[in-house]
């Protein structure tokens, strides 16, 4: 029987019919459906045992004790530690994505050496550490030749860095300008000493002048917990909160009253309030009360209204609140955490002295000097902005600069000039976790382990009412990239340079500090906190400092510049974590355009409208942005978010918006010797 075409066709038809009676098609379809749900490039989720380990997060200056959840030892999320007396289970938006930051694409993955302009090449730790020691050895013993800029204000590693600098015969150790530095200077002007603290938990009226205490200022998580405890849902509040600052922000959104005070009028506002309080009967036993009263009297209702743009009767309302309160507290701070100058701090803090609230429960406190872990550690000679200004003019001529967890090329006023000044220094090394603007222009970059990958500690985070110490240990066996604890790197270098600092490793360092403080290290690394007692101390009203008022800049064309800090967008050291980009509104950033905020009246005066492209200029810096009309901004003020205009990091943050640090202008504050930039003004022009 031959196979002809008809037979063949019948054979195939039979095959098809037969196939329908087998599982081939049905199972094949089912399996294909499952195959289409399992593409290889869709990530799989882990399975396994879930545990949680305590850790200390230094991603923002608060230094919070958190818990890190791990699955089969691999961290995947961070949450608050309910048992910690400081953070009480709270966590901030930066820490919420802290584990993801361990894998940020901006992470420095290995030591890097500059081989050509703008080009860094990976090298081994051996070579990197040898290079560091070689460069430092050459400058040993020469005053001012080895300099350091430190961005970590609470960790003991800062002590190692300063001791290293001192041991090499230099005193050029400076810190990135932050609240603690300025506030301590302010306290000095008030005849006291020590870092001030604010007992928000114990107060029943909290007036925040500038200080964004419920988001980016101080131990913000602890502050938020105190705030929450005083305002139970559905019941009466036991404390009133008022925010006086240049723009409606996260703190003002939950306050009982928001007072829009332009950043150039902070001292006027405080003195105007002092005047009203004195008129209502407030008297202080401070030695300079008479001068203070005379100064405050100069801020008449007319002066108050003209400079702040607020009606004078807001003061009546505030005075009534103060009279009704048993434990009022005025929290003084710059609205963006730096550059306020001591005078603004003194003006606001003096209200606490006036009301007799220093050293009281729910009042302002003074912290005693913290014990040192390294005996040869030195105090910072000045802040980094002042130091780099000297480098720019040639007054300071270091041969080597060590930058530790700081980003001076980005986060200092007149940032472009600062970056240029860094170019004057022959050898720059940065110990950084992420490839930031400063690391990108250094000669040597040493990757620092992430908070969860190393031993670290936090002593007296700025704003705490009592001396406080926290410490943490690593959650993972080794860092996810080839990074080291910067304390280990600095101690290793110190050893090779012939300096004996008293400890060998980062772990020993934290143990030594805990011992000096009198804390139980195991309790701390298990998620606890050590708290001591604030010291007493009387303060004056700082009238002498307040009397040296800056000359009023009457420039009709200039607007007051208010940089706004939002914790979710990052800090001076950390660019926006990728997961937090979602929290930025499209009225703040759209595509690559940053929106500056001003109210309708200000926009009209400046001749701009909603959406217009503008250029803001001040000093030798300028920035480009678009305008968003926002009624929450104070009179004559343009508010600009910090943290944009990145030129390093990764695709998530690079090239978006512009950097407002470029247009902050620095001036010398009369009578305090401090550099000030919180009262900067800018011109705004349509382009």
């Amino acid at each position: 029987m031959g196979l002809d075409r008809r037979a063949f066709v019948k054979f195939v038809a039979g095959g098809v019919a037969g196939t329908l009676f087998t599982p081939v098609i049905w199972k094949g379809l089912d399996d294909a459906a499952i195959w289409s749900q399992n593409w290889g490039w869709i990530p799989r989720v882990p399975k396994g045992e879930v545990k949680s380990a305590p850790a200390l997060s230094k991603l923002c200056p608060s230094g919070c004790a958190v818990k890190v959840k791990t699955v089969e030892g691999q961290p995947f999320a961070a949450l608050g530690n309910k048992d910690n007396p400081m953070s009480k289970g709270g966590i901030c938006p930066v820490c919420a994505g802290a584990v993801q930051l361990m894998y940020s694409p901006a992470r420095v993955k290995s030591p890097m050496k500059k081989v050509a302009e703008g080009k860094l090449q990976a090298i081994s730790w051996e070579d990197a550490e040898a290079l560091l020691v070689e460069k430092l050895t050459a400058l040993k013993g020469q005053e001012g030749k080895v300099a350091a800029i430190c961005g970590d204000s609470t960790g003991s590693t800062a002590e190692v860095l300063s001791a290293l600098v001192a041991g090499l015969g230099s005193s050029a150790f400076s810190v990135m300008p932050d609240e603690a530095y300025v506030a301590s200077q302010g306290v000095k002007l008030m005849g006291g000493s020590g870092q001030p603290g604010f007992d928000i938990e114990g107060a029943d009226l909290v007036l925040m002048i500038g200080a964004d205490a419920l988001d980016s200022w101080g131990p913000s998580v602890a502050n938020q917990k105190a705030f929450a405890a005083a305002r139970p849902v559905g019941a009466d509040a036991t404390a009133a909160y008022v925010y006086a600052g240049p723009a409606a922000n996260n703190t003002s959104a939950v306050c009982d009253k928001f007072l829009a005070v332009p950043p150039t009028a902070t001292a006027t506002f405080a003195l105007g309030l002092a005047n009203a309080l004195i008129a209502a009967g407030a008297v202080s036993s401070a030695s300079d009360f008479a001068e203070y009263k005379a100064l405050a009297a100069k801020v008449t209702p007319e002066v108050f209204e003209k400079e702040t743009g607020l009606k004078a009767d807001v003061l009546k309302d505030l005075v009534a609140k103060f009279k009704a309160a048993k434990a009022p507290l005025v929290v003084a701070g710059a609205s963006f955490g730096q550059g306020a100058g001591a005078r603004d701090f003194v003006a606001a803090a003096s209200l606490n002295v006036l009301l007799g609230r220093v050293g009281q429960k729910g009042g302002m406190t003074l912290l005693p000097a913290a014990p040192k872990a390294i005996a040869s550690a030195i105090a910072p000679a000045k802040d980094a902005a002042s130091y780099l200004a000297e480098v720019a003019t040639g007054k300071a001529a270091p041969g080597a600069l060590i930058v530790y967890e700081a980003n001076p090329a980005y986060a200092l006023p007149q940032a472009a000039d600062m970056a240029k000044a860094l170019g004057n220094i022959a050898f720059k090394v940065s110990l950084a976790t992420y490839m930031d603007e400063t690391a990108s222009l250094c000669d040597l970059v040493l990757p620092a382990a992430h908070s969860f990958e190393r031993f670290d500690d936090a002593m007296n985070p700025y704003g705490v009412a009592k001396p406080t110490y926290l410490a943490g240990k690593p959650v993972v066996k080794k860092p996810v990239v080839d990074a080291k604890n910067p304390a280990d790197v600095l101690l290793g270098a110190a050893g090779k340079l012939g300096l004996s600092l008293g400890v060998e490793t980062g772990e020993d360092l934290v143990k030594a500090k805990a011992k000096a403080v009198g804390a139980d290290i195991a309790a701390l690394t298990g998620g606890g906190a050590w708290q001591g007692e604030a010291k007493g101390g009387a303060l004056t009203l700082g009238a002498a400092a307040l009397a040296k008022a800056p000359a009023a800049k009457a420039d009709d064309k200039a607007l007051a510049l208010a940089p706004i800090a939002k914790l979710a967008i990052g800090t001076a050291t950390l660019a926006t974590p990728p997961a937090n980009l979602l929290t930025i509104r499209d009225t703040e950033l759209s595509g690559k355009d940053l929106f500056v905020q001003m109210n309708a009246a200000t926009a009209k005066k400046a001749g701009v409208a909603e959406g217009d492209r503008v250029k803001l200029a001040a000093g030798s810096g300028e920035m480009k942005a678009r305008v968003h009309v926002n009624e929450g901004v104070a009179a004559g003020t343009v508010a600009v978010l910090l943290g944009f205009g990145r030129s390093a990091w990764d695709e998530f943050t690079k090239g978006k918006g512009d950097n407002v640090y470029k247009i902050l202008t620095v001036s010398d504050e009369a009578g305090t010797g401090l550099k000030v930039w919180a009262g900067s003004t800018v011109t705004v022009a349509k382009i």
Binding site: M1, G2, L3, D4, R6, A7, F8, K10, F11, V12, A13, G14, G15, V16, A17, G18, T19, F21, T22, P23, V24, K27, G28, D30, D31, A32, I34, W35, Q37, N38, R44, V45, G48, E49, V50, E72
Partner: protein, 182 residues
């Protein structure tokens, strides 16, 4: 030509029948064989030997403190006895040298591997006998062959949704989507 003469008896249906039968045989006999690739476990683990040592099932297959189930134990559990070679079996030597001492987890092939979007709680099913869903492994000396579906990537033993749904329906337990999916 002579070949053109058809076989009258079949009425011309013979090719059809042959095709039909061939397809049915291919579909029922050859296809199941072809669609699965055969794999073996990386270590020849014998439940029989361990049971003979007097070990209880719950010694290694435990509920953790949080109620989750440690189905296949990790090195931590195995190394309680096998940190070093304790027996004479070459399979044990492979485990100790290539996995335990290197700190590497054994990449066991999971017979009941479920996709990421399925969540199964052993704790909720504690009242059932293990053998309701799993074969009785106590007397098993060599791990069963792992049949992996070449198309979908899952094992032949992976329970499909209808099996879970049927048992739920028969026992009056909710068949709401969220009970099993994440």
């Amino acid at each position: 030509m002579e070949e053109k003469k058809q076989c009258k008896g079949c009425g011309g249906a013979l090719p059809f029948v042959i095709g039909f039968v061939a397809a049915v045989i291919a579909g029922w006999v050859l296809f199941p064989d072809m669609i699965y690739s055969k794999k073996t476990q990386p270590v020849r683990f014998s439940h029989k030997i361990h049971a003979e040592q007097g070990l209880e099932c719950s010694g290694c297959h435990v509920f953790r403190e949080d109620g989750s189930y440690a189905g296949i134990p990790t090195n931590e559990k195995c190394m309680e006895c096998h940190a070093d070679v304790v027996g004479s079996d070459p399979a044990e030597k492979i485990y100790v040298e290539q996995y335990a001492q290197k700190g590497k987890e054994v990449p066991w092939l999971i017979y009941q591997y479920q996709p990421d979007n399925v969540i199964f709680s052993h704790k909720a099913h504690e009242a059932l006998e293990c053998t309701s869903c799993h074969p009785d492994m106590a007397k098993n000396d060599t791990p069963p062959v792992y049949f992996q579906n070449r198309l979908s990537g899952y094992s032949k033993q992976t329970m499909k949704m209808w099996q879970c749904e049927r048992c739920h329906a028969e026992n009056g337990v909710s068949n709401a989507c969220h009970v099993c999916h994440k």
